[in-house]
């Protein structure tokens, strides 16, 4: 069968950064096509070209043998292409129904082949509920329903599972297979090789803007794909799945740096339990991991400890400086429009969230930009941040490099306490490995690290000294050796309802 989407020789540069260097991509009807590559390889850019959000510098787009022009998302939708972005595009204040109508435009509801699929997708989506009241999983499902409502036969999904719980992920993959079985085509951008093997027919691997591998998935193993992504097999001590953990370090004997006693914090968005009477002690050089389902008080706990949310009751004694590596790199971590240097100075001057600030690059409130540049260059080198220059917009860096910069800036302050919220989310294996390594070194130097990941496997394989579970806002400690089932049960049951 002819390709429904055929991208040829696509090139695209953003200033000094060359994102795509003659990339090809071929999508056939009825297939789930995994698009792989490390961060900054150009996956998202390539799909944004196909969706008309980015005009390529060179190259052409064909569909069923005909050259087509895609100048805008509007053109893409007319060509039957729908995209589900990492950042959702629904209007929070409107209802599910209104958002679908908005996406469908003047198109009348289609009672065609995917009716069954749409029905299935709409399960749990009350048309009269406002989107702001939906869970993340349902919001994402709405994005897919919207794409289908606009008549899409080609679905482009940009890391759709990064926000989903394991059960939701499995459900999504099943839905995508169903869509492909009905003749649709799916492009799945992902980092998780397990998902690729669970769902895809075909795979394309991008590396530095070029295709390194393309073909049926059956021809590949995890090792060959990793090779195509990174150009070398993975270091032996770092498993492909972070399941086989690192042995916990010896229990710390340093003094306490965090002392929480019956601390409660109201829920951040007015919904959910918030943090309920949390009691916790952490010592210097101790790594504490948190396991929890999203929205069970972990965000409130971390933001409170970082000094960004006030406690409603209880007492909290926390040694300074405390620094936060926030979950959302682009909205809380860095200022995209600021240069790398400005971002570093901002973080260092403020001394993180609570702290004394950095004396060397300021005197009485003045900034020594020459020295700031030098410091930034050192940091970029030390933390292996790939950037053409330190005066470049931070927003132009890939996610992994942004995160390394944030972490470098945080560790530069020699924090007593470091709070890391989903520090490796969306990063490729290589970048995630570097982040983990830096955090372990910080622990070894005596920093108390509180770490949370929404990926339970990552929490369990982290090699933390202690394991906390938050359920309905209540904190409970499990043995660091607890297995997946024990932790999973604890995540679903609040402390008050008996031990798991």
């Amino acid at each position: 069968m002819t390709a429904v989407l055929d991208l040829r020789g696509i090139e695209k540069s953003f200033g000094a950064v060359q994102a795509l260097r003659g990339a090809n991509f071929l999508l056939r009807p009825g297939e789930v096509h995994a698009l792989l590559g490390e961060n900054g390889a150009g996956k998202t850019t390539l799909m944004e070209v196909a969706y008309g959000m980015i005009r390529p510098d060179a190259g052409q787009i064909l569909s069923r043998g005909q050259t087509i022009e895609i100048r805008s998302p509007r053109d893409a939708r007319a060509a039957g292409i729908g995209m589900v972005h990492q950042h959702f595009t629904s209007v929070p204040a409107l209802t599910v129904e209104e958002n679908i109508a908005l996406a469908a435009g003047r198109r009348t509801p289609d009672h065609g082949a995917d009716d069954q699929l749409t029905q299935q997708l709409r399960l749990g989506l009350d048309p009269r509920v406002r989107v702001e009241d939906l869970s993340v999983g349902l919001r994402q499902r709405l994005e897919i329903v919207k794409a289908l409502a606009s008549g899409a036969r080609i679905l482009l999904l940009d890391e759709p599972t990064s926000v989903l719980a394991p059960a939701e992920t499995a459900e999504l993959l099943t839905l995508l297979r169903g869509f492909a079985a009905s003749g649709g085509s799916v492009v799945l951008i992902t980092h998780k090789l397990a998902e690729v093997f669970a769902c895809a027919d075909t795979v394309t691997v991008l590396r530095h803007g070029r295709v390194t591998t393309w073909g049926p998935l059956a021809d590949h193993t995890m090792e060959t794909l990793a090779e195509a992504m990174f150009g070398g097999t993975l270091p032996e001590d770092e498993p492909l799945h972070p399941l086989s953990g690192v042995a916990p370090t010896e229990p710390s004997t340093h003094g306490p740096v965090v002392r929480l006693s019956n601390v409660s914090v109201p829920a951040l968005d007015g919904r959910g339990p918030g943090l309920v009477r949390a009691t916790l002690e952490m010592r210097a050089g101790e790594c504490v991991a948190i396991a929890a389902i999203d929205g069970n008080g972990q965000r409130e706990l971390m933001l409170m400890m970082a000094g960004l949310l006030p406690a409603r009751e209880g007492t909290a004694e926390i040694a300074t400086p405390v620094v936060l590596v926030p979950a959302d790199r682009t909205t809380e971590g860095l200022i995209g429009e600021f240069s790398l240097t400005e971002n570093v100075v901002l973080g260092l001057l403020a001394g993180g969230v609570v702290g004394t600030g950095d004396q060397s690059i300021r005197a009485r409130g003045w900034i020594d930009w020459a020295q700031a540049e030098e410091r930034t260059q050192e940091l970029v080198k030390q933390f292996n941040v790939h950037a053409p220059g330190v005066w470049l917009r931070a927003g132009a860096l890939s996610g992994g490099n942004q995160q390394k910069l944030i972490l470098g800036r945080a560790l530069e302050q020699h924090p007593a306490v470091l709070i890391a919220e989903n520090p490796t989310r969306g990063l490729d294996i290589q970048a995630a490995m570097e982040i983990r390594q830096h955090l372990r070194e910080a622990v070894a130097r005596g920093t108390a690290v509180l770490f949370y990941s929404s990926d339970l496997d990552e929490v369990l394989s982290w090699g933390a000294d202690r394991l906390l579970v938050l359920a309905s806002g209540e904190v409970r400690e499990l043995p660091a050796t607890a297995d997946r089932d024990q932790v999973g049960r604890a995540m679903l049951t609040p402390a008050g309802s008996g031990t798991p």
């Binding site: 960004l308 909205t331 200022i335 403020a350 409130g365 003045w366 900034i367």
Partner: protein
């Protein structure tokens, strides 16, 4: 052009541009922090009345002091409502400007009587800068101005230093680009925004005071006549940069001074046509017709979540 006419035109351009420059620099500081303050027109009017009240009892410098105070006090209302409690900035700013029109009218009539006509206040005398004023045409136009004009020039590099060379400036710009990221880096977003807006209010008050103390020597109700809004257009045209703002303010000053020039040249064009010119220019600036400017990303947007 006749050198006398040219000198007069230049002198008038600079003089007219001065209150616009002061108000626009103040607005620029607020907007760099993410706050759009439409109450600046009201703060100018309050500053003008403050200058009149101060000058009538304590001389020109008394006028300056009360003008600053009046600008800050009126802006404090905006800060409390829109920065601290994060109410809609556009509505709050508009309400404050409209309230200022009524309020200054009442205070003025109470202080100076219903007629008020013929109120004559002390004004700043031109301060001639020796040597420089002997440059032909430009010298007398630029260096025979009042001390407030020189002050407004000094404010340009001061604002530049503040924004780009101090940690305060960096934190302010961060608050204007991305308040959540700024808060996460330890910036007290609301505090720094409040400080910038209040500083802007002081400059707007001084701008109003300049109208009274360096230009007309009297007060009239609604005498600012939209200059605060022009200042907002100047900030856009000047691309949120002190030097750009200086250039844009001078351009608006020149557009206003054109009417004097054409009257002096005896052209048979109704002067009202030229009165329209600065406002037309403002529309062009606001419609973005002057090139792509990089607006502070979080302009007009309150901090979401957090307590900084």
């Amino acid at each position: 052009m006749d050198p006398i006419l040219a000198q007069g035109f230049l002198e008038a351009s600079v003089r007219v541009a001065t209150p616009l420059l002061l108000a626009a620099l103040g607005e620029m500081l607020a907007e760099r922090g993410g706050i759009i303050n439409l109450g600046i027109e009201g703060a100018m009017l309050a500053g003008a009345l403050g200058a009149a009240l101060g000058a009538s009892s304590a001389g020109v410098w008394g006028g300056v002091g009360v003008a600053l105070l009046a600008g800050v006090l009126l802006t404090l209302v905006f800060v409390i409502v829109s920065v601290r409690f994060q109410a809609d900035q556009i509505i709050t700013g508009t309400a404050i400007t409209m309230a200022a029109v009524g309020l200054t009218g009442v205070v003025y009539r109470h202080a100076f009587g219903v007629g008020g006509a013929g109120l004559t206040l002390p004004t700043f005398k031109p301060l001639v800068v020796p040597v420089l004023n002997r440059i032909p045409v430009v010298g007398p136009a630029l260096f025979g101005q009042s001390v407030l004009v020189y002050l407004s020039w000094a404010a340009v590099p001061l604002c530049w230093l503040l924004l780009f060379k101090t940690r305060w400036g960096l934190a302010l710009r961060a608050a204007g680009e991305d308040p959540e990221a700024a808060a996460a880096s330890g910036v007290r977003v609301i505090g720094i925004r409040a400080a910038a807006v209040l500083l802007g209010g002081a400059l707007a008050g001084l701008a109003g005071g300049t109208l009274v103390l360096a230009q007309v020597g009297t007060f009239a109700e609604e005498m600012t006549a939209g200059r605060g809004f022009i200042a907002i257009a100047i900030v856009v045209l000047g691309r949120w940069h002190p030097v750009g703002v200086l250039g844009a303010a001078l351009l608006f000053g020149a557009a206003t001074a054109l009417q004097f020039l054409f009257q002096a040249m005896g052209l048979g064009v109704p002067y009202q046509l030229f009165l329209v010119l600065p406002y037309l220019l403002a529309l062009v600036a606001l419609s973005g017709g002057m090139g792509q400017a990089r607006i502070p990303t979080a302009l007009g947007r309150p901090l979401v979540g957090g307590q900084s």
